[in-house]
Amino acid sequence: MKRQIPLALVFIFGVILIIQYFVPHEKSEWIFEFLMDWIYIIGIFALALGIWSLIRVSWDKIRLRRENWQYSVVALLGLTAMIFFGFDYFRNFFNAAGLQNFMFRHFFDYVMIPIQSTMFSLLAFFIASASYRAFRARSLLASLLLLAALIVMIRFNPYFGPLTAYLEQTASWLLNVPNLAAKRAIVIGVGLGIVATALKVILGIERAYLGKD
C-alpha cells in the first residue's frame, strides 16, 4: 500500500503524458494544461515545506548556539521582513500590494540583484584561477584541452599581426565543427540516458526517489 499506490500513480501519469503527446485534439491539450498547472500549485506547498526546513535549521543553530549562529539570525530576519512586505496585501503599511510593495521591490533591487550579479561575476575570477590550476600539459588529453582553449582565447590578442586572421578562422572552425560533433554525441547519449531512465521510472524499476519502508 505504501509503495504500490505511488508506483501506480507514476505509471498512470507517465503513460498519460506519453499518449498525450501523440494526440493533437483539444481534449488532450486540456489535460496537458491541467497537469502542468497542478505541478505548479503543488510546488507552492513544497516551497512552504522548504521555508519550514530553512527556519528549523536556522532556529536549531540559534538555539544550540552553534558556530556562526548569529548569521542565522540575519537569514531569519531577511526572510521575515521579505515575507512580511511580500504579503502586505492589506496595504496596512505601504501603498502597493504584494509583489508591488515598495519595500519588497527595493529589497529585490538593492539587495538581491546586486548580490546575485556579483556572485555571477565571481566567475570571471574563478575562470582565471581554474585556467592557472588546471590547464597544464600533463597528458595528451590535458594538452588538447589547453591548446583549444588558447587558440580560442588568442583572438583577443591584438598583437599577432597577420596571424590574427588565421587564428580567428581556426577558432571559429573549432567552435563550429568539432564542437558541434562532440556536443551532438553528448546530446544523443544524454537523450538516450534520459529516455531510458524515464522509462525505468515509469515502469517502477528505478525507485530510489521513493525512499524505503
Partner: protein, 413 residues
C-alpha cells in the same frame, strides 16, 4: 518557422499602418506639382485556390493554398503580397485573416478554440475563402474566385509524430527485453567508470580525515531525470557514509528535491543498519535562488571543509564557482552532469567528471542491479542503431532519399 511568423507579424503591422495611412497620405496640399498618374492595371489574380482542414492539429485551423499571381516574378513591382480573406457565407462579408509576402502560396488560417476570443473559429462549420493579390498601391488589387465550403476539426492522432511512436515502442521493447534477460541471470559486462570508482575511495578518505561529504544535487527539480539519477547515486553514497560513520551534508535548491533526498538518505541509513545515526538536518533546504544557493554552499565548503564534494545532477553557470571553491577548500571533487554547456568547467576544475550519459550509467552501475544494467545494454544497442542510421543518412543525403531524411523531421510541439 519563427521567421515566417515574424514576416507575418510585420505584414500584419504593415496592413494596419498602410490601411490607416491610406486616407491620410492623400496628396499633401502644399506640394504644387502633383503628377496624377492613372491607376495602374490590377495584377493578375491567383489561381488554383484550395482550402482544407489543417491536419494533425487541435482544430480551428485551415490551410489555404494557391498558385501565385502571374505577375509575382522577380523584379516586378506589381505584386506586394497576398491577403487571405474568409467569410461564413459565399456572399460575404469577407474579413482579412492574414497576409503573406510575395512568392508564397500557402497560408495557415489559425483561429482560436476559445469561444470568447475575437479569433474564435468553430469546428465543423462551413467557411469560404478567397485570396487577394495586393500591390504597393492599396487601392489596386485583384481577388480570386471564392473557395468553399471548408470545415475544420481536431484530430486524435498526429501522423507527423508516427516516427516518435515507432522509436518509443522499439526502445521500450529493447529495454524490457534486456531487463528480463538480465533478470534471468545473464552476466552483463559494464566498463568501469573512473568517477564512480573514485566515490568509494573518496568516502574512505573522508572517514580517515574525519570530515564530512558534501553532496550537491544541482539545480534540477525532483522530476528532472538527471536529479532522479542523482538520487540513486546519493542513496548509494549515503549508505557507504552510514557504514563508515562519516557525515554527509546535502544542501538542496528545490524543496521537493529536499523531501526526496531526505527519504533517500533515511532509507540508506536504514539499509546500513544505522537508522539512529540519521538526522533530518543532514538534508536541508537553502533557497530557490541560483546564486543565493551557491553563496550558501560556498560558505559551507569553506566552513565545514568537506573531504569530498560530489556534484551530480543539473548544473548551470554556478558549476565553476562551486568547483573552484571546492578546490580551494582542498576537497576531492567528483562531478556529473548532463548539462552540455557546463561539462567543460567540471572537467577542468574537478578531479573526476561523469560526462553526460555517464551520469545515467553511473546510477545503474552503482546499483549493480541486473534490471538497471539491462537498460544500459538497451541504450548501447540504440546507439549502435543510430550509427547505422547515420551512415544510411549520409548515403541518403548524397543519393537524395528525401523520404528517409523526412522520417526524422518531427514537428516541434
Amino acid at each position: 518557422m519563427k521567421e515566417i511568423l515574424m514576416v507575418f507579424l510585420a505584414l500584419l503591422l504593415a496592413g494596419g499602418i498602410s490601411s490607416a495611412g491610406a486616407q491620410e497620405s492623400a496628396p499633401p496640399p502644399d506640394t504644387g506639382t502633383l503628377v496624377v498618374t492613372p491607376a495602374p492595371a490590377p495584377p493578375a489574380p491567383v489561381t488554383n485556390l484550395n482550402a482544407k482542414d489543417k491536419p494533425n492539429d487541435h482544430g480551428a485551423g485551415v490551410v489555404v493554398t494557391w498558385t501565385p499571381s502571374a505577375d509575382d516574378v522577380v523584379g516586378s513591382t506589381r505584386v506586394f503580397g497576398y491577403a487571405i480573406l474568409r467569410a461564413a457565407t459565399p456572399e460575404g462579408p469577407f474579413l482579412e485573416r492574414g497576409k503573406v509576402p510575395i512568392g508564397e502560396g500557402v497560408f495557415e488560417d489559425q483561429g482560436s478554440l476559445d469561444e470568447v476570443s475575437p479569433d474564435y473559429m468553430a469546428d465543423h462549420v462551413d467557411y469560404y475563402y478567397k485570396v487577394r493579390v495586393i500591390s504597393p498601391d492599396t487601392t489596386v488589387y485583384a481577388d480570386s474566385e471564392i473557395f468553399g465550403p471548408v470545415q475544420c476539426f481536431g484530430q486524435w492522432f498526429n501522423t507527423n509524430k508516427l516516427p516518435v511512436l515507432i522509436f518509443v515502442l522499439c526502445f521500450t521493447t529493447l529495454a524490457i527485453f534486456f531487463i528480463t534477460h538480465a533478470r534471468r541471470g545473464a552476466e552483463l559486462y559494464i566498463r568501469p567508470l573512473a568517477g564512480i570508482e573514485a566515490v568509494d575511495e573518496a568516502i574512505g578518505r573522508a572517514t580517515e580525515m574525519g570530515r564530512p561529504i558534501l553532496y550537491v544535487l544541482g539545480l534540477g527539480t525532483a522530476a528532472e531525470i538527471a536529479t532522479i539519477a542523482s538520487f540513486t547515486i546519493l542513496g548509494r553514497v549515503a549508505k557507504k557514509v552510514a557504514e563508515y560513520q562519516t557525515g554527509i551534508i546535502v544542501p538542496c535548491y528545490d524543496p521537493i528535491v529536499m523531501t526526496v533526498a531526505q527519504e533517500t538518505v533515511k532509507a540508506s541509513y536504514l539499509d546500513a543498519g544505522r537508522p539512529d545515526a540519521y538526522n533530518e538536518d543532514m538534508v536541508y533546504f537553502v533557497t530557490q535562488s541560483q546564486f543565493a544557493y551557491v553563496a550558501a554552499v560556498n560558505g559551507t565548503m569553506l566552513r565545514e571543509l568537506p573531504a569530498t564534494n560530489i556534484y551530480m545532477g543539473k548544473f548551470f553557470a554556478e558549476s565553476l564557482i562551486l568547483a573552484e571553491t571546492g578546490a580551494l577548500a582542498g576537497s576531492i571533487q567528483i562531478a556529473g552532469t548532463d548539462e552540455v554547456a557546463q561539462i567543460p568547467f567540471f572537467v577542468v576544475a574537478c578531479d573526476y567528471t561523469l560526462i553526460g550519459e555517464e551520469l545515467y550509467a553511473a546510477s545503474a552501475y552503482l546499483g549493480r542491479e541486473p534490471v538497471l544494467l539491462g537498460s544500459l545494454k538497451a541504450q548501447d544497442y540504440a546507439k549502435a542503431a543510430i550509427m547505422i542510421m547515420a551512415v544510411i543518412g549520409f548515403v541518403a543525403a548524397i543519393v537524395g532519399w528525401d523520404w528517409y531524411v523526412n522520417l526524422f523531421n518531427v514537428p516541434s510541439n
